[in-house]
Symmetry: C3
Subunit: 346 residues, 3 copies
């Protein structure tokens, strides 16, 4: 069961060129394509004539042409051409999904089209601000539920174990951090502050800190399926905790987890170098190391999913660090219940 | 559900040497073998003793010997030998299937043996007439229903899309062809005539036409699972349309689609060069290019099958070119109903 | 359905080093590990916190640490550490399985722990007697039920067919052997004697027999899942049949078949050179040839399993050589019924 009335990431904009792109989203096979003007569209990836995936076809002047018998569909899913036939039956259409391209993402709305308000799209406009945030991105397929990936991102106690060989460091080093968790209008956010603390070696190396620092890790889950990370440090006492995070060492990571099926998802991630955006080598290196880290998460979550597939979840035991997860599930359950209620009323 | 009382192609004769050959046909695992005299036989590919595939065994004097404990079965499925045991239980037999080798094919009858009339086997005797028809053949496995392949062959509107890179040419070039579709005693046949038309470049190159031609494409579906194609051209007005197709540029293609399961089939195809049968290079080239074309069909049909597996067929919309398909399905439904009626009465 | 109250082979001792070892046994994912003292333990391979396989983790001072959030479990399955949390909930444990390492095997008990009597472990102490029995071992995964492998081992009529290219020899050569089959306290044993018979060429080559020999093949099934083989020959009339098998040409093979699932198993096998234990080359060669033979069995049994999966067993016909198999199944059915009865009574 998925929250349908929400914007999900369907693809990176640069994944979609002249050829149509097949991708399963919320269980549905979808084909993305750009019309001749370059505008992205998304329709069901199955021709209403004989069922062939439309992604086998190609873009023509009036839309996407099926690669089997040549029927053409526009971005609204309407059949606009049938070779050798003038009349187009009213029943000749496929489902279409609202799509908006913004901040390097192609966002898709898999629910009721009338409710697809572009104002609800998450703001990632810093992706377009290369002068301050040097962005790099990629995508991983995860053979595990998007929920398990969200859980992973919102519980950092895994760092010392899953990422032992990459970013983990000493598992217990963050135990005394000041942790603030809050319900937001659109999800849950936590911030961990290590005020007036010695800078870790990688920070010193990257930025050249001379003395103690105020350091933060902020993760905001925007329900149902995205997590915005903002991590950094400034010289101690220079106002970061009070809200002025400008300057210093910092980066943002966008984690977009779009359900493919109930037990698999697409992981769209982008790193943004905010400490030296003009330094391409630093941006590249940071991106590559982050991607390695995410592959470690992928490995754990996929094996976790296999066990949950086999044994369910009833036997699992919560520990203290599951607080955020429990809170997130409650938010999600509320959204799903709302959606069911609305659908029943309509 | 399959029409069982019909001859299906089980294999090419040259596929079956001294070793037994395993092949699933109409859902049943079958083993084909040649006895010591070279005569082909077909029995169930599962020993009645412990279930082992008999295709793991080898041919001995009295039949096919199981590779596990050495029981021997003759071509009628009877156990004729049990090592270390004189008495053979009456229950020791496996299902057997009538088989006839003819015209390079091994034909099999998966229904009631008493009804297996060899006179009902499709005539492909031109395969034995190398002086007029130079034959080449092969086999493809298709992860799609044989019905989808039949649909494909009997609706040429796909040529301009699926075979764009091979034989497709201009999708609209055939729109004004004269099309004759007819119910036959054993299926459906259509013939397209392009009378007094300019020869396509490949025809000119292959045959050296100087002027306009009368050109035909004939496809005959012989229910349930074979399609006979005869395509060619002669100088305009030299009698082809009236029935004299001798001479000129022409070829035949035998398309045999034998169900493996409900959603997969074996595609036996043979091309026959009828314009220059003595020209081996031409026969080889034409065969190889045809095979590439059939691989394009395979790709489309397999992806179509995946969608039909997931979504069924109720949502599909017929267009004008589906006429032949609808007619064929009606014929098939009639055959299946007849078979059910007969079985109920017996 | 498996007999649970029995010792099964979980692994070869030398398969388990410092890293945990994942293995599915009787349908359950199990993780084997050695604590810091080297003692082997086995617990369920799924963390009770979030389900992650514990085999992704690593051994620490107090037990096996989950590779996701760092919980530690001891060999009894108790959670003994939760990072960042002092109190450990009583519900934080995973199933544990009694384990005993002996004779190169790690034995596991998947049933009621209270009944895990080490005295019931099969004696393979000759594995530790390198001076008389030079042991070599390995493991194969079999995509077939352990029952089919037991059937295979306890019915040697397959030798002439399955192992035609290896040890089979003439299928009929053993027909006149003296066969003694007996129910034992723990299973079924058969012994075949070829008294005062000419030695086969391989025996002459390996041992240098000059005249006739008394030759035996003994196979003992110890229910539910192991077969002990003892094969050899001595000069005729020197007492082998009367019980004195010392000297001469002989070897033992331990065949351990541990169910992985209902339709797959782990095959642990060990050969022991008892004729020239000091001859490493002979031991190695004999082991490698045996392994080839077992791969032939694997191939047949896996294909047999596929047929039984599809068609069941009701259509199968018993022959004379199935006597031992029928007897074994009766023993097993009795054990399973006993276990059900006991569980119902408790």
């Amino acid at each position: 069961m998925f929250v349908r009335n929400s914007w999900y990431i369907a693809a990176w904009g640069d994944e979609l060129g002249q050829a149509p792109l097949a991708r399963r989203i919320l269980g549905e096979p979808v084909v993305l394509f750009r019309d001749k003007s370059g505008k992205a569209a998304a329709i069901a990836d199955r021709c209403c004539h004989r069922g062939t995936p439309l992604s086998l076809g190609e873009v023509v002047e009036s839309g996407l042409q099926c690669g089997y018998h040549g029927m053409v569909f526009d971005g609204a899913g309407r059949c606009v051409q049938i070779p050798g036939q003038d009349k187009i039956p009213a029943s000749a259409f496929v489902p279409a999904y609202p799509v908006i391209e913004r901040d390097h993402f192609i966002w898709i709305w898999m629910g009721e089209a009338a409710k697809a308000d572009p104002a609800r799209i998450i703001d990632a406009s810093y992706h377009d601000d290369a002068g301050h945030w040097a962005e790099r991105h990629d995508r991983l397929h995860i053979a595990g539920s998007y929920l398990l990936m969200i859980d992973n991102l919102m519980d950092l106690t895994h760092l010392g174990y899953v990422h032992r060989r990459t970013i983990g460091g000493n598992p217990s080093q963050h135990v005394n951090a000041k942790m603030e968790t809050a319900r937001t209008q659109t999800g849950v956010r936590f911030t961990r502050w290590m005020l007036n603390s010695p800078p870790p070696p990688t920070y010193v190396k990257a930025y050249g800190f001379k003395g103690r620092i105020d350091r933060w890790q902020e993760f905001e889950w925007v329900a149902p399926s995205n997590v915005l990370q903002w991590t950094g440090a400034k010289d101690a006492g220079t106002g970061a905790y009070e809200g002025n995070r400008a300057g210093g060492f910092q980066f943002k990571v966008f984690h977009g987890l779009t359900p493919e099926t109930e037990t698999s998802c697409h992981y769209y991630f982008a790193t943004a170098n905010g400490w030296a955006p003009e330094n391409d080598a630093a941006s590249d290196l940071f991106f590559r190391e982050s991607r390695e880290t995410f592959r470690e998460d992928k490995n754990v979550v996929e094996q976790q999913q296999a066990r949950l597939d086999e044994f369910g979840e009833d036997w699992l035991v919560n520990i203290v660090s599951d607080g955020t997860r429990v809170q997130m599930r409650r938010v999600l359950d509320g959204m799903l219940a709302d959606e069911r209620r609305t659908m029943a009323a309509e």
